[in-house]
Symmetry: none
Subunit: 199 residues, 4 copies
DNA sequence: TATGAATGAGGCTTCATTCAT
DNA sequence: AATGAATGAAGCCTCATTCAT
């Protein structure tokens, strides 16, 4: 019984993981449920045992990203506690797309871009993740500020948004150029700007 | 004779314009050819009289943006000749998505994000437009530099990439947040950073 | 369980049988997948559950003929072991098209004629069937030869090709004339010629 | 005026010639009117100026073959007046498909095979051509007979049908095998058989 | 005689989803 | 928990044909 349900969880996890990868690689609409099942070697109609619809698995994938982010187990450092961490936050992202040949941008940004206008749930889901990151960065900056290590003119929330936007734009530009240089330039200058507020 | 060919061009232009609008609103994959034809009140299969495939009309839409950009007739100031122009470049973009209720991001960025990985032509097309804008900005900065009005440490090309990326990221963030504030914060700081190189 | 899979197989077999009949009656290109499904009372898009494409079902139909030929369950005697068998081989074919009002020729020849130039798989598939028949006839003739019952000048392989070609030509002529006489004349003379090598 | 109508005739002839070639190469159904017009560099809708329908141009192509046959200007000797002529009749056909890489069979046989069952006009048209050839051969044989140079048992009409059928079958076999050998074997034996009636 | 825009039916194929077991 | 057959709408595209000039 327990074994079975565990097996189920494994199957379910395999489907989510495959979907996540395919959504990132080619987009949500370009990915059919059949392709997810084939790629994950899952028998047809297993899908509707675990998920209620395609929208549902998109939601699950986004929740998966949220869990990754919360747990800190992802490939990108998100728990920002120092200027070095913030630098890693930026460069981890650029390194991430470099490893994929600059053929993908941020998986969350992509999905949001594709679906946010017609699927409010997607927008909210992505917002949650972005919000978490935002809090991580602004928390760090607020800490600095309370320690008197940040200029008074610095607005932690605004600078967090600036950071997230810059990363998103950098990754998109890398994909369009199929080259990491513009992304590196972007994050480099973003960091220079952010650090200009340090005292 | 002239009327006829004009009529044809009108139909064609109507299809392109409708496609452009729908692609921006809901994405390319979410837009069916039938929907383009219905929305533009065009009889079925006129489409393939003017375009060879769906990819073809995507290409045409992107070429349309290129023409808009080259002619300077678009809603965004792209012919950058002063710091004020650069400021307008950033804020025109934010204003553009504000008018659409923050439900869309950059039409070019969206299409690239959705299709660039699987459609090289799309990537190249978007690159052309981005390249034009990049040249416009870096041209301005290079001019400043030759006049001694820009710090020597400033790299015009890198700063152009930074500008484009920030705008793209800002618009995406506006869409995800359904709110213009983060975008405004982003472009504000981008401008501060850019101007920090002025002498 | 068994019933289910049988039900599936039955659906599939029904599709193949209907396709086979329609291909023979009106040609492959003249037969739409929709027509196959309607005629076989199969719900739409069941088709792609069992076959990957139209080419695929053509392939399956040709494989069906191959199985018929190998199993000897077809309406034509193909297991040639005597002069009488060879005679029946010829006359079975003519009788076959007579029953269909001389409105069709050989189903394999038709499909090959229509598609072999653009579909190598079809050519290969038909070749396999023709090759089987060729071996059957030449095997018989070689047997005769080894028993000294065939003139030394007789070339079993060449005479097999001659037999197959004559049958194909006879059936086509019957269709063009909507009359069996020329086909009968053809196979009669083919047999006379073949028997002229008997000792 | 005259020039114009002549120009028209040239356009028309070009369309017919292109259609003839494409029908032979890939079949009638596989050839679209658009393809005919494109291949012949003819503006669209010129077609319906000269022909009333696709069936009509098929008819015209078949009438073209009839005229070729009647005029004796074709690549195949059809005016049979000697055993040598008959031999050439057979070998010209095989040589004809050899030059086309054994990728096509008889253009008339192909069209008949594809359409005769559903288009009576096509059947009649092909029959006319085949009938002409039949008369040519049987005329020769009847002449021989009246001169006492043919065995009494020989039936000129039956042997003509046999000749036509063998050629058709030979060409089809060449196409299926993508090799001329079986066709050569077939016509060789057909000739042996025919000559066996010579006195 | 000539042009090309327009039409609409239909072809092949894919999709998300449900059903029966 | 799992299987795969079944469904029907919809997607992209091609076709033969007609219209307007």
């Amino acid at each position: 019984m327990d074994q079975l349900s565990e097996k189920g969880n494994i199957t379910r996890a395999r489907i989510v993981e495959t979907a996540r990868e395919l959504f990132h690689k080619q987009g949500v609409r370009a990915t059919s449920i059949d392709q997810i099942l084939e790629t994950s070697s899952t028998g047809k109609s297993q899908f509707y045992h675990y998920f209620s619809s395609k929208d549902d698995i998109v939601h699950e994938v986004l929740r998966f990203y949220m869990r990754i982010v919360e747990s800190g187990r992802g490939p990108v450092l998100l728990n920002i506690e120092s200027w070095d961490d913030l630098e890693r936050f930026f460069y981890d992202h650029v390194e991430g797309v470099r490893m994929l040949g600059y053929e993908r941008s941020c998986p969350l940004g992509s999905i949001a871009n594709e679906l946010a206008s017609e699927n409010e749930q997607v927008r909210v889901d992505v917002n949650l993740v972005f919000g978490y990151i935002r809090n991580s960065i602004s928390g760090f900056l607020k800490g600095l500020k309370s320690e008197g290590k940040l200029k008074k003119s610095a607005d932690p929330d605004a600078l967090s948004d600036f950071s997230i936007a810059t990363v998103q734009g950098a990754l998109l530009l890398a994909k369009v150029r199929k080259d990491g240089t513009p992304a590196e330039n972007t994050v480099k200058h973003a960091l220079i700007h952010l650090k200009s507020f340090a005292k």
